[in-house]
Structures are given as C-alpha cells and as structure tokens.
C-alpha cells in the first residue's frame, strides 16, 4: 500500500508543539523539515504553541561556590520544579561583577551583561551576551559605540527586546555622564544594536522627558513591544516609566499614579498583558520602617493610559518583615525573596505564603536572584554560536591524544588568566569537532 502523505499544515501543527531539543534533532529528517524549522513563521508559531502549553518560569540564583544556577519552575500553584528541564549555565565567571546582570528576557532569549555595579552608578560594561538556553546558542555583542569612546567618564543602562515587525532582537543602550549623574545627568545618548544588522546605531533621544534618569539596577521589563524602565527626574523627586518601542525606536514616558510617583524603589512587572508596578516599603535602605512593611501593587488596565492605573492589592504588616518582590505572576501571586534568600509566593486572596525554595544559608545581603518567564524557542538558531559545551569538553579529556590534551590545558590556563574566556572556549569546541 502506498504511503499517504500527511498535509503540510498538519505536520507544522504537530511540530509546533514539540520541545526545541526534538526540533533540533529533526532538522535532519528531510530537506523540507530543515526549511520549515529554520523559517521565521514556524519559529513564531512554535514559540506561541509550545509555550502556551508549557507555561514556566526560570529562577536564576547565585551560589558563590557553584556559580550561577538556573532552575525552571512550572507556572502552577506549587511553582513546582521542572526537573526535566536542565539549564546548564555555560559561561565562565564574570570578570567584572560577581555574576551576570540579566538585562531582560524575551522569546526565550536572555540578555546578560557583565558590569561593575559595586559603586552604584559608577558602573562599566565589560560584555553583553544574548543567550538562548533551550538551543544552547549565544551571541556576544560589541560594546555600545558612545560608551566605547568615553568609557571612563560614562556608564550605560541597557534594555533588551524583540521587534516583531522585522523579526529582530534589539538591545538599546543609554550612555550617561558618570560624574554628573548623581546631580544632574546630561542628556544621555541612545543607540540600538540589532541582531540582524550586527551593528550599533544612534537613535534620537528626546529632550522633553521629565524622567529620563535610570540606574543600572533599577527595575525594567520588556512587554507590549517596548522596554519599560523605572526612571526619575534629575533630582530624584519624581518617578515615571520610560519606554522604548523596539519597532518605532522612539522613547516615551508613562506617568505613574501620584501615590507612586514620589516613591523610591519601585518594581515594574506584568500581570497578563497589563503593566504593573509594585511598591514595597521593605526596600527602604534607610532603616526607617515607620510605615511597617507594605506592598502596593497597581496595574495599568489600558496600556499607556495613566488614567487606568488601578490598585490590585495593598497589604500592610505592622511588625512582620516582608521580602523583596521579584515578579508578579499572571494569577496575581507575587514572587518574593526574603532576606535569608528563601523564595516565597505571596497570594493575596489566600492571605498566606507558600514556600517554594529554601536555600538555607545566607551568603550575602546583595541578592542576585532573578525570575522571568521561561520560553523554549528557536531564536538565534541562524545567527548564534554554540555555547561552550562542558559535556564535550569532558568527553574529550578521555581521548588519549597528548597534543589535544595539552591544547585544551593551555586553553583553560589562558581562561584562568582572564583572556577573553568565551572566544577561547569557542575555539576549543571548534577544534573538538574537527579532530
């Protein structure tokens, strides 16, 4: 009996529900499958279908002995650990900072940056990487132009996102004057890096924004096609949300409700499609806790309409210390990190905490925990490089080839000396595959 072929539409549909790892394998099933899996349309369809079926979050934590750890959690009530999804952090330790700063995350691509934030605004960028853990691809970006020219006197604030119209990942960089920043930053210079063009390019920074001053560790999120940062006016007396649209490449400002506009330490998040801002009093560094510990969560029901800011909930504890809010979930739960590094879930309706992670020892008061949506995607498949592959390294060590062993040893030594670790490890991988 002749084999009856299945319609392409059906095959596409089935493939769109498969994990990225299966798709990578099956690119060699046939010529047409390779074309399908590499196509922009399929990547978008897969991103939507697979992740809608498997809603998950990832939690990045810093362990001072082990390094950076990434765990994936299901978006269910228990925030259960997904033990089948193993994300190995492939990069060497940072050269400048203790661990990478995560600039943002979108469509399964994580934007990492190695920077010096130890002195607040006195901050320099050493490396920017885009990383897609589900297909183990990375792209190392050149440093922003303006920053490279005058890095000793400037610092940069970054944002990461995706322009759907041009199917392009972009990083936006704002260069601020280092020495005047605490008093009055000069008008910053803005530039955009596009993965498709591979270059940084200047974009117009408007001079009519009230709040355009941002520090590198202030809260930011990519949503609705734009990067959103909490920004302040030059004398830190007024706050709003500064946005950068990845498609039009225009900066705008979204006003906060009056109640929040004068507050420090705001956190920006999303609930479903809506932008949200969390104000928590426990973030005060000044030691004054006169108002007790409070959370106020407000959502903007209609995007870019400040009149639609609505209080989602307001909680007040007289003498219980609440933690640092990391992110809101779509069910309105808040993911919170406590001072002892426990991560807990705050459910306002139920009125109690659910422990989801228990870390035990406190290592450092400066927490590096980061939570974002985990999506499997084929992004960077056609542009990225393979990430350093530790399994292949270990396998190679077994091979009884003295020259290769010496070669690898040499490479490791160089890495330890601080010579561009990524490119060197990459070279060793290339070497591996051709022996």
């Amino acid at each position: 009996m002749a084999v009856q072929h299945l319609p392409d539409e059906l095959i596409l549909q089935i493939l769109s529900f498969l994990p990225a790892k299966s798709l990578l394998r099956w690119r060699s099933v046939s010529k047409s499958w390779l074309n399908v899996i590499n196509s922009t349309e399929f990547k978008a369809m897969h991103l939507h279908n697979f992740n809608q079926l498997n809603p998950r979050y990832f939690v990045r934590r810093m362990d001072y002995y082990v390094g950076e750890e990434y765990n994936v959690h299901f978006d269910d009530e228990a925030f259960g650990l997904d033990i089948d999804t193993d994300i190995e952090f492939p990069f060497d330790r940072c050269r400048v900072n203790i661990c990478y700063r995560i600039i943002g995350c979108c469509n399964g691509v994580v934007c990492l940056c190695d920077d010096d934030d130890l002195n607040g605004a006195d901050f320099s960028v050493d490396m920017i990487i885009l990383w897609n853990p589900s297909i183990r691809r990375k792209l190392t970006l050149p440093l922003p132009m303006f920053y490279s020219v005058d890095f000793e006197n400037s610092y940069v604030v970054l944002g990461f996102g995706y322009d759907k119209a041009s199917d392009d990942y972009k990083v936006v960089s704002l260069t601020y004057d280092q020495f005047s920043s605490n008093i009055r930053p000069k008008a910053s210079v803005a530039e955009v890096y596009s993965v498709k063009t591979g270059i940084w390019r200047e974009v117009m920074f408007p001079n009519n924004l009230t709040c355009f001053y941002i520090q590198s560790d202030w809260s930011r999120i990519f949503s609705n096609g734009s990067v959103h940062w909490i920004a302040s006016n030059p004398n830190w007396s007024h706050y709003s949300i500064m946005t950068f649209d990845m498609n039009t490449e225009l900066f705008e400002e979204i006003q906060l409700p009056k109640f929040l506009a004068e507050k420090h330490f705001l956190r920006i998040s999303v609930v479903g499609e809506s932008l949200a801002v969390i104000r928590s009093s426990c973030l005060n560094f000044d030691g004054l806790r006169s108002e007790g510990s409070t959370y106020t969560v407000m959502v903007m029901k209609e995007y870019k309409n400040p009149a639609s800011w609505t209080t989602l909930y307001h909680v007040h504890y007289k003498d219980v210390e609440v933690g640092k809010p990391l992110r809101l979930r779509n069910n309105r739960d808040m993911i919170v990190e406590l001072d002892n590094r426990d991560i807990i879930m705050f459910n306002h309706d139920e009125g109690f905490y659910v422990y989801v992670l228990h870390d035990g020892e406190e290592e450092d008061s400066d927490h590096r925990t980061y939570v974002d949506v985990h999506q499997e995607s084929l992004a960077l498949l056609d542009v990225g490089d393979s990430v350093p592959n530790k399994e292949a390294m270990e396998a190679l060590m077994v091979i009884e080839n003295q020259d290769v062993l010496i070669g690898i040893h040499f490479l490791y030594d160089d890495t330890a000396e601080g010579v561009a670790p990524l490119s060197i490890v990459d070279f060793s991988i290339t070497y591996l595959f051709y022996i």
Partner: protein
C-alpha cells in the same frame, strides 16, 4: 419543533446522522450549510468511517464550555495510537474543527518527542531525502540534542 438533521458520508460510503446545530461546530460544514442549505448528504471523501464515527462522537459531546478543554484532552488521550490520532487530526483539519485538531496534534507531539529520526519518519510518513553525509553535518551542529 424537531431539530434539523444532517447526513455525512464517509470515504467508504457509510452514512452518519447528526443534528445540524452540533455539526456546524465544523466550520467546513457550517459553510456548506450556508451555501446550499445542505439538504442532501454531505460527502467527506477523505475521512474513513471509523474516524468519522470518532468525530461524530466528539461533536455530540454534552460538555459545559468550561469543561470542554479537559474533555477534548481526555477524548484524544483515550485514542492514544499515533495512526488513529493522525487520521483524527486530518479529519479535524478537513472539517475545520480547531480544538480537536490542536488536541490531536498536541497528543501526537507528546508521543513522538523522544523518537529517533527513523522513528519519526515512519510515524509521520516522511521520506528521507538526505544523504548520510548531509544528515551528519546537520547532526554535528547540535550533537548534544541527539
């Protein structure tokens, strides 16, 4: 008032009756009914009788809308064989019943996700048009995924 009934005919010429208000969950049938009133028999030349019986069973379900997601999941789970699911998905595609098609495709994806190249070619009836060298080149690029 008696409910209007439609007759569907499978590839192997078997006839199935179904109430019109249930049958029009299929966008294809809905359009046919709109166009010519579909007074006579609606032929479905690509759907065999076993599959059509399944589709009719699905269309006849009496589920509250909020239970529908779970129902369709369970419905395809109970037909866990890949060939049956593919027939069902193809019928759902022809008849344009989106929920059923999505659920069947999801189930197939779940069953095949750990398959080898040969197994997936066989399951989804794909001819191998790659030379072993080409296959190896693509494989080497993502060795870890194999």
């Amino acid at each position: 008032m008696s409910k209007k009934t439609l007759t569907l005919m499978s590839k192997d010429k078997q006839l199935f009756n179904i109430e019109e208000h249930l049958a029009v969950q299929s966008v294809t049938i809905r359009n046919m009914v709109k166009e010519d009133g579909a007074s006579s028999v609606i032929p479905l030349p690509r759907v065999d009788s076993e599959t059509l019986a399944l589709v009719i069973e699905y269309l006849n379900r009496q589920q509250a809308p909020e239970e529908d997601e779970d129902y369709v999941k369970k419905f395809v789970d109970e037909r866990g064989e890949i060939p049956t699911l593919l027939e069902l998905a193809q019928a759902a595609l022809d008849l344009d019943i989106k929920k059923l098609m999505d659920a069947a495709c999801m189930k197939v994806a779940d069953l095949i996700k750990d398959f080898t190249l040969e197994e997936v070619r066989e399951a989804l009836r794909i001819e191998n048009d790659r030379t072993p060298e080409e296959e190896k080149a693509i494989r080497d690029e993502f060795q870890w995924a194999f």
